[in-house]
């Protein structure tokens, strides 16, 4: 009897000690997960945070989850100021966003439409501003003419744009050129239909 009581007392003391320890000790981790607003300021999607079988879904801008130890996921929110404080240098190191341009061409030729010429200038300006730029130039056609002819024309248009970029000082090793012919129209049409919006080159810059 006495032995059982003292054991119990001992167990009680031990758990008190554990409690005190837990109270004093810092949490094992200080993990923080935050969903940011997208470029338009609205929700940018969702992120699931899973830890030790527990899950939180962050679906709103500035929704956050803290994980102090595996299996303890605490939902909450943070302010933009707290985000800056915790993640400032990481956010400041974000690479520029990739940008996509579309330039339109005269029928059956590799000449830009007059309206698209200023766009080419903007492409060149964007590339000049980028660190270690990479450029992908993809040519397209409408559905007038044979598939083979349009494959060649789409490559010719893309190649013409590459030449313009190189002339403006862009390193040709950083430019990839593709021709997709009439396969990927911006505006789907029946065969042999002339469609100015499909006579285009896409220039992706990052």
């Amino acid at each position: 009897m006495t032995r059982a009581v003292s054991l119990r007392r001992l167990a009680g003391l031990a758990s008190l000690g554990l409690l005190l320890l837990a109270g004093c000790a810092k949490p094992a981790r200080d993990d923080l997960y935050v969903l940011l607003p997208g470029q338009d300021g609205h929700s940018s999607g969702a992120v699931t945070v899973e830890s030790g079988g527990k899950q939180a879904i962050l679906g709103q801008p500035y929704e956050a989850a803290r994980v102090k130890e595996p299996g303890r996921v605490e939902p909450g929110t943070v302010t933009p100021e707290q985000v800056q404080q915790a993640f400032g240098p990481a956010l400041a190191a974000q690479p520029p966003r990739p940008v996509s341009f579309v330039l339109y061409f005269l029928e059956n030729r590799d000449e830009l439409t007059p309206e698209s010429k200023p766009t080419l200038t903007r492409v060149i300006e964007e590339i000049a501003r980028l660190p270690a730029p990479e450029i992908v130039v993809i040519g397209h056609t409408d559905r007038v003419g044979t598939v083979a002819r349009n494959d060649a024309l789409s490559l010719q248009r893309a190649g013409r744009m590459r030449d313009e970029l190189v002339k403006a000082g862009v390193d040709p090793a950083k430019i990839r050129v593709e021709g997709r012919g009439e396969r990927e129209p911006l505006v789907p049409t029946p065969d042999e239909v002339a469609e100015p919006r499909n006579r285009r080159v896409e220039i992706n810059v990052r």
């Binding site: 899973e50 990481a90 974000q94 690479p95 966003r97």
Partner: protein, 140 residues
Amino acid sequence: MLVIASAAEPVGAQEAGHVKVSKGTVQIERGGQKVPAIVGATVQSGDVVTTGSDGSVGITFLDNSLLSAGPNSVLAIDRFAFDTTTHQGAFESSLQKGTLAVVSGKLAKASPDAMKVKTPAAVLGVRGTEFLVRTGDGKE
């Protein structure tokens, strides 16, 4: 399986992205070697990117994902595979310590399970926007 897959791919297929921003001490560990992560450096699947107490780094991946890490960070690119035509593939990375900002790219947009970020305590799944639709006349 990953080893077999990468062995079957042509040289250069391991390329995952490029360093676009590099401040202070930033290194890439690859196969036991450390190289400085200068602007323009290639990042490969399997690399570990580390930043010093004065360091930060920004990487643009082939699918347009943007990852950037703050000081005192260790970021492992565990797996990166991206089909530029179908946008299918996988992107798994782990932040062993430090801070990381992520803008997901074409992989996460094409399939909700393609992109995962791990930490020692958690696994993050990156989903495109999710929403529910109900249509009908409301008499139910």
